[in-house]
C-alpha cells in the first residue's frame, strides 16, 4: 500500500503512462508526451474523469488512447467544461456497459445536434422532479407506478416514461406542469382502459373477445400502418380521457387548458407536411386549441367532428368504431406518414404494454406458486403466527362456502380466488393438489387464502433485485445503479449445529447471559428525590419526625422512576464468501449463536444477514434473522445452514443493511460487519477500487446515523484496515477462535 500517500489523480496518471509506454506498437515517445500534455491542459472540471477514461481504455487498447484524446480535445471546443464533464461521463458509461464499438460511435458523432443533448439548456430535467412525480402518480393512482426516462412520453402500465428534459417552455413551472399533465394523462390511459381494450378478435377461438392484456396489440393488428393507427387511436382516446381527467383532477385540468394553448403556439403550420402527417398533426392541433394552423387536407373537417364525438365516449370500445373510419380516411391521403412527437399526450406502444402485462402476470403466477409451496412446507405453528400477523389480523375467520372452489394440498385447504384459478388453468394443478368444491369441505376446516400471505410477500420484495450505486474513486463519482442486490432466504439445515455449540460453550453462555442481563436497565425506583412522581413514604415519615423533634426536615421526599431504556437495534452482517470455508465459517456461526443467546437475554433488537455473490449483477443478501423474527427453531436452523458461497463485494450489502436500519425506529443503530479480509469480486472489484467503494459505503452509513463496526479476521492485519474502516471502528482478530468471546465483549462495550 505504498501508493496510499498519492492522490487517485497521480495514480491514474502513472498507470496511464505505464500502459502507454508498455505498448509495443507505440514507440513514439513524443506522441505519448503529447497525449499527456493534452490531458493536463484540460479544464480541471473534467480532467480527472478524462484521465480515468483513458486509463481504463489503456488497459485493453492503449494504441487507441491518442485518437480518443484528440476527439476529446475537439469536442471540448464545442462544449463548456460542465457540459464536457457530462459528455465524458456518458462516454465512460458506454465504454463500460456497451463496449468499444458503441463507445467509438459515440465519440465520433460530434455534430451539433448530437452535442445538443449535453448543452445546458433552459428547461427542466426529469431527474430533478422524478421523485415528486413518482409520489404524485402513486397518490393519484393508488397503484405502484414508477417513472422512467424515454424520448417520448408513454406508459407500459407499470412505468410511466417521460422525456429526460423538457424545454418546451422557458419557464420552469410551465415545464413542470407539462410533466405533471403528461404523467396524469398516462395514468388516465391506464385507469380508463385505453391500454387494455376489449377487442373482438377474428383470430380468437369462436370469435370471442381476446383477454384484455393482449387487446391493444390485437387492435392494431388489423391495420397496415400501425404507427398511424396508434397515433389516431391515441388522439381519439385523448379526447375521451379529457372528460375523465376533468372529473378526477379538475384543478390540474383548469391549468392544463391554458398550457394546451401554449403548446399549440409552439406547433408549426401544416404546410410542408405530407397529407397524412398533416392530417394527424391537424387533429392534434385541434385537440389542443380547437383550431388548426394552415390548410387542412380534405377529410379533416369530418375528422374533427369525430374527435368532438370521441369526447363523449365512455369506453375504448366506442373509440374503436371511429378509429376504423378515421384510419380509412387517412390512408386515402398521400403518404408517407411520419410520426411526430406530441407533447402531453405522448405515444402509445402496444408491444411494451403487452410485454409489461405478461411479465406482471408471470411474476404473480410465480409468487402464488411459491407461496403455496411455502405454506405447504411451513410447520402449522408458524402458519398460525403468520396469520396473526398485522396484515391478516383484521380479517374474519374463513368459513367454507358452498359455491366456492378449494384446493387441497398435503392436507391444507386453500381458497381459490379468481387469480389463483387463472394460474391453475394456465399451469395445471400443483403437485399432489386436489380440487374440491365447497359442498365437500367440512365445516370448521382451516382455510388459507393465498392473498393474505401474498400481501406480506409483496412488501418483502423477494426475488426482485434492488439496484445500488457503486463508488468509483478514480472518477470521483458514483456508477449509477451499478449493482443488483437480491435478497434470498438461506436454506435451513437440520444439522444440530446450534445445539452442539450450546453444549460446547454451556459454561461460558451461562456467564454471558448473566453479564448481559446486568446490562438490562429494568425500571428502578430512585428514592429520596427532590421531585418525582410519588411520595417516598419512608422519607416523609422521617421528615415529620424531624419536624416534631424541631429539626429542619429533609426535602428529598419523592420517588422517581428511572427509565433509561436501551433502545438499540443491531444488524450483524456476515461475510459468506468462499474464503470463509472451513473453520472460519464454523467459528462465525458459533459467534452468532453466542451473540444471539446473549442478546436474547438482554432484549436488544437484532438482525442477522449474510452476503456473498458473483459480479455486480448478482450480489446476494441472505436473510438469517430479521429484526422481528424470534430467535427460535427456524433461526437456529438457518444459522446451521450458513455456508461459504462466492465473492466478497462489500458495497451493496453494506448499503442494503443501512437501508434496513434506516427504516427502524431506534435511538442507537449498530451495523456490525464480520469479514475475513479484503473486499473482492470477480469483475475487477478489487484493490483500491474495492476498498474505496467499501469505505464510501461505510461513510454513507455513518451519515445516516448508523454506527458501523467491523470485526475482521485477518492474520496479517494489513495496513489498509484503518483507511477502510476508520481509525476507531474496527478490530482485528488474528485468531478466529477468539471471535465468539470477543464479539460479545465488543457488543457490550459498544452499547454501554
Amino acid at each position: 500500500m505504498q501508493s496510499k500517500s498519492r492522490t487517485p489523480y497521480d495514480q491514474l496518471w502513472e498507470g496511464l503512462m505505464k500502459n502507454l509506454t508498455a505498448d509495443l506498437f507505440n514507440e513514439d515517445r513524443v506522441e505519448i508526451e503529447g497525449v499527456m500534455q493534452d490531458i493536463a491542459s484540460f479544464d480541471p472540471r473534467f480532467r480527472q474523469k478524462t484521465l480515468a477514461l483513458c486509463h481504463t481504455l489503456s488497459l485493453s487498447a492503449p494504441s487507441l488512447v491518442p485518437s480518443v484524446v484528440k476527439r476529446l480535445r475537439k469536442t471540448s471546443q464545442a462544449l463548456k467544461p460542465r457540459e464536457m464533464e457530462r459528455w465524458v461521463t456518458r462516454a465512460f458509461d458506454l465504454l463500460e456497459s456497451k463496449g468499444m464499438d458503441q463507445f467509438f460511435r459515440f465519440l465520433s458523432t460530434t455534430h451539433d445536434d448530437a452535442l445538443e443533448e449535453f448543452r445546458t439548456r433552459e428547461g427542466l430535467s426529469l431527474q430533478a422532479v422524478s421523485a415528486i412525480l413518482e409520489a404524485y402518480l402513486r397518490g393519484i393512482s393508488g397503484i405502484t407506478l414508477t417513472v422512467g426516462q424515454a424520448e417520448e412520453s408513454y406508459t407500459d402500465t407499470g412505468t410511466v416514461y417521460l422525456p429526460p428534459l423538457l424545454s418546451v417552455f422557458k419557464d420552469r413551472d410551465r415545464n413542470f406542469l407539462l410533466y405533471k399533465m403528461a404523467a396524469a394523462h398516462k395514468w388516465a390511459q391506464i385507469a380508463a382502459g385505453t391500454l387494455t381494450p376489449q377487442v373482438e378478435s377474428p383470430h380468437g377461438a369462436d370469435g370471442a373477445a381476446v383477454t384484455a392484456d393482449r387487446g391493444l396489440e390485437e387492435l392494431f393488428a388489423h391495420y397496415d400502418n400501425q404507427e398511424l393507427a396508434a397515433d389516431l387511436y391515441n388522439l381519439l382516446e385523448a379526447a375521451r380521457l379529457e372528460s375523465f381527467l376533468h372529473r378526477e383532477l379538475p384543478g390540474l385540468m383548469r391549468e392544463a387548458q391554458e398550457l394546451k394553448q401554449e403548446i399549440f403556439l409552439t406547433r408549426r403550420s401544416l404546410r410542408g407536411l405530407s397529407e397524412q402527417s398533416a392530417f394527424v398533426e391537424g387533429l392534434y392541433q385541434y385537440f389542443l386549441k380547437g383550431r388548426v394552423k394552415g390548410l387542412m387536407p380534405a377529410p379533416l373537417p369530418a375528422a374533427l367532428t369525430a374527435l368532438d364525438h370521441a369526447a363523449q365516449f365512455t369506453s375504448p370500445a366506442e373509440t374503436q368504431g371511429i378509429l376504423k373510419d378515421l384510419y380509412e380516411a387517412a390512408t386515402k391521403l398521400e403518404g408517407p406518414y411520419q410520426h411526430r412527437s406530441f407533447p402531453y399526450i405522448g405515444a402509445i406502444k402496444p408491444d411494451r404494454v403487452a410485454l409489461c402485462i405478461s411479465r406482471r402476470k408471470e411474476q404473480r403466477r410465480k409468487q402464488i406458486e411459491e407461496m403455496i409451496s411455502k405454506i405447504v412446507d411451513m410447520p402449522d405453528i408458524e402458519v398460525e403466527t403468520r396469520k396473526a400477523a398485522p396484515a391478516a389480523q383484521t380479517r374474519v375467520e374463513r368459513k367454507p362456502r358452498k359455491d366456492a372452489e378449494y384446493l387441497l394440498v398435503k392436507g391444507k385447504l386453500f381458497e381459490l380466488d379468481e387469480e389463483t384459478k387463472a394460474v391453475i388453468r394456465q399451469s395445471g394443478l400443483f403437485s399432489d393438489g386436489i380440487l374440491l368444491d365447497g359442498s365437500s369441505v367440512k365445516e370448521g376446516s382451516v382455510i388459507f387464502s393465498i392473498g393474505d400471505f401474498l400481501e406480506g410477500a409483496d412488501r418483502e420484495e423477494t426475488g426482485v433485485g434492488i439496484r445500488y450505486d457503486e463508488w468509483d474513486y478514480r472518477r470521483g463519482d458514483y456508477k449509477r445503479d451499478w449493482c443488483t442486490l437480491i435478497e434470498k432466504d438461506i436454506h435451513p439445515s437440520d444439522e444440530p449445529f446450534v445445539d452442539l455449540t450450546l453444549k460446547r460453550y454451556w459454561g461460558y453462555i451461562k456467564i454471558l447471559r448473566r453479564k448481559f442481563e446486568l446490562l438490562r436497565k429494568d425500571l428502578r425506583i430512585l428514592r429520596r428525590q427532590k421531585d418525582g412522581d410519588d411520595i417516598d413514604i419512608d422519607a416523609t415519615v422521617e421528615a415529620f419526625s424531624d419536624i416534631k423533634a424541631g429539626i429542619s426536615p429533609g426535602e428529598n421526599v419523592f420517588t422517581k422512576l428511572d427509565r433509561q431504556e436501551r433502545n438499540i437495534a443491531a444488524l450483524f452482517l456476515l461475510d459468506m464468501s468462499g474464503s470463509t470455508k472451513g473453520w472460519v465459517n464454523d467459528v462465525e456461526k458459533e459467534a452468532l449463536v453466542l451473540m444471539s443467546e446473549a442478546l436474547d437475554s438482554l432484549g436488544d433488537r437484532y438482525a442477522i444477514y449474510g452476503f456473498s455473490g458473483i459480479a455486480r449483477s448478482n450480489c446476494e443478501y441472505f436473510t438469517i434473522k430479521r429484526f422481528d423474527d424470534r430467535y427460535g427453531e427456524r433461526v437456529k436452523k438457518r444459522i446451521a445452514g450458513i455456508g461459504p458461497k462466492d465473492y466478497t463485494r462489500m458495497g451493496p450489502p453494506l448499503r442494503h443493511s443501512a437501508r434496513i436500519l434506516r427504516s427502524l425506529d431506534a435511538r442507537t443503530k449498530l451495523l456490525i460487519v464480520l469479514s475475513d479480509g479484503k473486499p473482492e469480486d470477480r469483475d475487477g472489484y478489487k484493490g483500491d477500487y474495492a476498498i474505496e467503494d467499501t469505505r464510501k459505503a461505510l461513510i454513507e452509513a455513518k451519515e445516516q446515523g448508523i454506527k458501523a463496526f467491523c470485526i475482521t479476521i485477518d492474520r496479517e492485519a494489513s495496513a489498509y484496515l484503518p483507511h477502510l474502516f476508520g481509525e476507531v471502528s474496527y478490530t482485528v482478530l488474528d485468531d478466529v477462535r477468539k471471535l465468539p468471546n470477543r464479539i460479545t465483549e465488543i457488543y457490550r462495550s459498544l452499547t454501554t
Partner: protein, 270 residues
C-alpha cells in the same frame, strides 16, 4: 367567558355528538356494555374513535373519563397516589379509580403509548373479575355493572416497541375503525364544517389519494379530521390550495419531496 371546572368523573356528554355509524358498531358496543366486556377500538388516527366513545357515553348516559396515554404515564397516575396536604398525606384517586367508583366509561386513548407495566394495571379490571386493586391502600375496588373500560390503539405504527401485548389484547373485543366510505366521508366533512358539497367532495378525494401513499413515503394518509380542518379554513376564507397545504400536506410529512407531491395532488384536484 369563564371556564367552569368539572370533576373528571362528572363529565357527562350532554348534547348528542355527531356520529355516523359505519356499520353495526353501535349495537356491538351496546351488547358489550350489557355483557360487561371491555372494548378495544383500533384504527388510524382521526377516523372517529374518540367521537364514537363520546357518542356511546351520551347514548348510554354514562360519565366519560378519557385518559390520553403517554410514555410517562405510571400506574399511580391511573390508580391514585398519596399527596402531602397541610402536613398530612392524603390519598387522591386517579382517573381510573374515579371512573370505577362512579360507574362511568373509562377510555384509555392510544394505549400503546403507555408503558407496558402501566397497561398491566387494567388487566384485573378487564377480565371477568372486574376489580381494581389499589395496592397502596390495600384495597380492592369492585367495578359496578355500569362501569365500562375502552381502549384505543392504532395498529398502523408498526414498531416492535409499540405493540399491544397478547395478554392485554385478548381481554377485549375489538372494533376496527377505518376511514369512512367516500359518500359518508363527504357528508361527515360537510356536517362538521358546514362546507358545500362540491368542495367537500374534492377534499375527500384528496384525502383518499393521500391514503394511497401510505407506506410509500407517508406513515399514514390524511385523516377525516384533517379534511375537516381544511374545510374549516376554506370556509373562513383561506384560499383552498393554501388550506390544503397547511391543513393536509404539512401536518402529514416533513419530507420535502413528499410535500411537493402532496401539494401537487391537492392542486390537481382543487
Amino acid at each position: 367567558m369563564k371556564t367552569k371546572a368539572i370533576k373528571s368523573e362528572e363529565y357527562v356528554v350532554e348534547e348528542e355528538p355527531y356520529y355516523r355509524p359505519v356499520s353495526n358498531e353501535v349495537q356491538v358496543f351496546e351488547s358489550a356494555f350489557s355483557n360487561r366486556i371491555p372494548v378495544l377500538l383500533k384504527g388510524p388516527t382521526g377516523c372517529g374513535k374518540t367521537r364514537f366513545m363520546q357518542y356511546m357515553a351520551w347514548r348510554l348516559k354514562r360519565p366519560l373519563v378519557t385518559i390520553s396515554c403517554h410514555d410517562d404515564l405510571t400506574a399511580s397516575d391511573l390508580v391514585g397516589r398519596y399527596l402531602v396536604r397541610g402536613g398530612e398525606t392524603v390519598w387522591v384517586d386517579g382517573p381510573l379509580t374515579k371512573a370505577v367508583k362512579s360507574g362511568g366509561f373509562c377510555y384509555l386513548d392510544e394505549v400503546v403509548e403507555a408503558r407496558k407495566d402501566t397497561t398491566v394495571v387494567i388487566h384485573p379490571l378487564a377480565d371477568d373479575r372486574r376489580i381494581l386493586p389499589v395496592e397502596k391502600r390495600g384495597e380492592l375496588l369492585k367495578a359496578p355493572p355500569e362501569f365500562m373500560l375502552a381502549i384505543s390503539y392504532n395498529p398502523g405504527y408498526q414498531s416492535v416497541l409499540k405493540d399491544l401485548k397478547q395478554s392485554t389484547r385478548q381481554r377485549f373485543i375489538a372494533i376496527e375503525f377505518t376511514y369512512p366510505a367516500k359518500d359518508l366521508e363527504v357528508e361527515i366533512v360537510m356536517h362538521e364544517s358546514g362546507i358545500d358539497r362540491v368542495t367537500a367532495e374534492k377534499l375527500v378525494s384528496i384525502g383518499r389519494k393521500t391514503r394511497n401513499l401510505k407506506d410509500r413515503g407517508l406513515v399514514e394518509g390524511a385523516s377525516t379530521r384533517l379534511l375537516i380542518h381544511a374545510s374549516h379554513l376554506i370556509r373562513s376564507g383561506i384560499d383552498a390550495r393554501r388550506a390544503c397545504e397547511v391543513a393536509i400536506s404539512e401536518p402529514l410529512t416533513d419530507d420535502h419531496e413528499m410535500l411537493s407531491a402532496l401539494t401537487e395532488i391537492a392542486a390537481s384536484i382543487i
